[in-house]
């Protein structure tokens, strides 16, 4: 194997590299574009002409323009599950393979969604704060929460994450239904083709879908009003799936019962009006940030590159549909 074949181009460091360092890829030569003073197109023209593999952070847009500067590229490994940042038609045209995070994150994200839901319903963070302020002996009883069993939970997006959420919440006696682009053939949960219909028939909405043009601001005031004054929204997808301004308004005005949010439109900015509400639980986008999952992701990335460079099948290939 020529040493140039084992080069991996990295345009910007993915979160796993920022947190764990790059030791997990020590058997490869990393071309770190962000460390160069050169503008990207020059850097690629000079250094990346024979590079066959690229590690994507899941954020930096891999446009046709950039791909054009990488004539030898045959593989993109992205640390994300989503592929919005990659020009897929161009990759298909060029025969560039893609490997992604597959469902490495799904369990952690589902756990977070369930954790946020229980926290909102049972006021866990609020009660913990009450206790730590020394209020239990003085103020006496803490307000009652709401029972989870029997509640109707609408899952927005029944992909890998949505299905893990559904499986967990069924064990709590929740009644699951969902909306999705298409009805899923082997799933017995009731399907809704519109999120507003789903909200009308549910007590809780859990946003588990990806961010696309269609899902942008999909959860808006109408949906929240349909969910109702006791309704709870949990978001472990992307901030922009919810129209944040309207979410804040509904919560402040009592049109919505509560929210558990791991993502926001302008992270790390969080609307200050939410800080005064104890029916809201806030999380700093940590749904996938567990030690176990980060290690698993490093292993998956390494494994994909090793497979590629030894002509073996990728561990988590993405199938590009026509």
């Amino acid at each position: 194997m020529k040493s140039s074949h084992a080069h991996i181009l990295v345009l910007e460091p993915p979160p796993i590299m920022i947190i764990c360092g790059d030791q997990f890829l020590k058997n490869f030569r990393l071309l770190k574009a962000w460390e160069s003073q050169l503008p990207l197109d020059q850097f690629l023209t000079i250094h990346a002409q024979s590079v066959q593999a690229l590690l994507s952070s899941g954020r930096y847009s891999l446009t046709a323009d950039i791909l054009q500067l990488l004539p030898s590229l045959r593989l993109v490994v992205t640390t994300s599950a989503g592929l919005n940042h990659i020009d897929l038609p161009e990759c298909r045209r060029r025969g560039i393979s893609i490997a992604n995070a597959k469902d490495t994150y799904s369990e952690d994200v589902a756990d977070m969604a369930v954790g946020l839901l229980i926290d909102v319903f049972r006021k866990i963070s609020s009660a913990d704060s009450f206790v730590r302020k020394g209020l239990w002996p003085t103020k006496g009883d803490f307000p009652l929460g709401s029972k989870l069993g029997g509640k109707r939970v609408g899952i927005v997006g029944l992909g890998s994450i949505g299905q893990e959420v559904a499986k967990r919440l069924q064990a709590f006696g929740c009644r699951i239904s969902y909306c999705s682009r298409n009805k899923k053939p082997y799933v017995s949960y009731p399907f809704y083709s519109s999120v507003i219909q789903l909200a009308t028939d549910c007590d809780v909405l859990i946003v588990c879908c990806g961010l696309t043009q269609q899902t942008h601001h999909m959860i808006n005031k109408d949906v929240m009003l349909a969910l109702g004054k006791e309704g709870v929204v949990v978001n472990v997808g992307r901030g922009a799936i919810i129209k944040e301004e309207e979410l804040v308004q509904c919560l402040v005005q009592g049109e919505l019962g509560g929210a558990g949010l791991d993502v926001f439109e302008n992270e790390p900015k969080v609307p200050g009006e939410l800080f005064a509400l104890d029916k809201v639980v806030l999380s700093p986008h940590t749904a996938v940030r567990t030690a176990e999952t980060l290690i698993a992701m490093c292993e998956l990335v390494k494994g994909n590159f090793e497979a590629f460079f030894s002509n073996k099948p990728l561990l988590s290939p993405v199938v590009l549909n026509n």
Partner: protein, 313 residues
């Protein structure tokens, strides 16, 4: 039934008070200026006592109420009631099983997630504005971790069922292994603690289970282990627990109960790997209403000579 004296031991539910007041001659012990004087005046008309997790009919109270026929507890835990004395005197005892099972089990899982994923600490992190300066640290995954349950009764089984949905292998300790249960049995709590990541206390409090979580068990659970107590405070040797947490010998704890509620050791307030709740296991509107209805239903059944709904004695 308005002449029947019912003594309520402490405030527990406005709804229950109202309902009792409308049916019986309700005495509220906490409003009484002088307890001995009150008992002298009214003891002979009191035929029922309503207590809860915090206050029950102990030997002293039972002796002071010669006409006591029934103790109806607004709880499933009856450790504050002198059951032997009740049996001896033919006093009936009712409690509130089943209706609160799901809420308590839900809370146990909520505590596990809150501790492992640092939900409360990260909520505080966002609210303080700290997220603007940097990301929160890595937390610990729950799915797939081994959950050990002490006491596989109604609540223990409900916790197991929920944890299984997170692909958690389940193991347990109880006085005897249960023949039809697929979970792994350990004949001692120390062995259970040595072999699980998260230990949940879900058994009743009695002489055998007092301080069942002691230094040995805490050491066995270890610096990565997490203790969840949804039982009773005295299940745990609290000073040992506190020093283990402060010294990092125990990985974390989710507590809903304490040895001397509502007092909580202040050393715990500074710890991020601990979640502290004010005994809210059954604390939902739906469940507390159901519990109150059971208390009333049991009392009515008794005084109408009908079978009790949820008798213990």
């Amino acid at each position: 039934m308005e002449s029947i004296g019912v003594l309520m031991l402490c405030p527990m539910s406005a709804y229950l008070e109202q309902e009792l007041q409308s049916r019986f001659n309700l005495f509220k012990l906490w409003t009484v200026p002088q307890k001995p004087q009150f008992l002298k005046e009214h003891a002979s008309s009191i035929r029922a006592v309503v207590g809860n997790a915090a206050a029950g009919a102990d030997a002293e109270l039972i002796s002071a109420l010669p006409k006591l026929e029934i103790v109806s507890s607004y709880s499933v835990g009856v450790d504050k009631i002198d059951l032997d004395k009740c049996r001896e005197k033919g006093i009936r005892v009712t409690y509130t099983p089943d209706v609160l099972t799901e809420d308590v089990a839900d809370l146990a899982i909520g505590l596990i997630l809150a501790v492992l994923r640092r939900l409360c600490a990260s909520d505080r992190y966002v609210r303080s504005g700290a997220w603007k300066k940097g990301d929160f640290r890595l937390t610990t995954k729950f799915t797939g971790k081994t959950v050990g349950i002490i006491g596989l009764g109604r609540i223990g089984m409900a916790v197991a069922k929920r944890a299984e949905a997170f692909n958690c292998p389940i193991s347990y300790y109880s006085r005897r292994a249960k023949p039809d249960i697929q979970y792994t049995y350990y004949p001692s709590v120390v062995e259970l603690a040595s072999n699980c990541d998260i230990l949940v206390v879900a058994c009743p409090l009695n002489e055998e289970t007092w301080h069942i979580i002691n230094r040995g068990v805490i050491d066995a659970l270890g610096p990565k282990g997490v203790l969840i107590n949804i039982g009773r405070g005295p299940h745990v040797d609290e000073p040992e627990l506190v020093s283990a947490l402060v010294e990092g010998r125990l990985g974390g704890a989710g507590l809903d109960v304490y040895e001397k509620e509502p007092e909580i050791p202040e050393e715990l307030f500074g710890l991020e790997n601990v979640v502290l709740l004010p005994h809210v296991g059954s604390g939902t509107v739906e469940t507390r209403t159901a519990m109150a209805d059971l208390v009333i239903g049991n009392l009515e059944a008794h005084f109408l000579n009908k079978p009790l709904l949820t008798p213990l004695v």
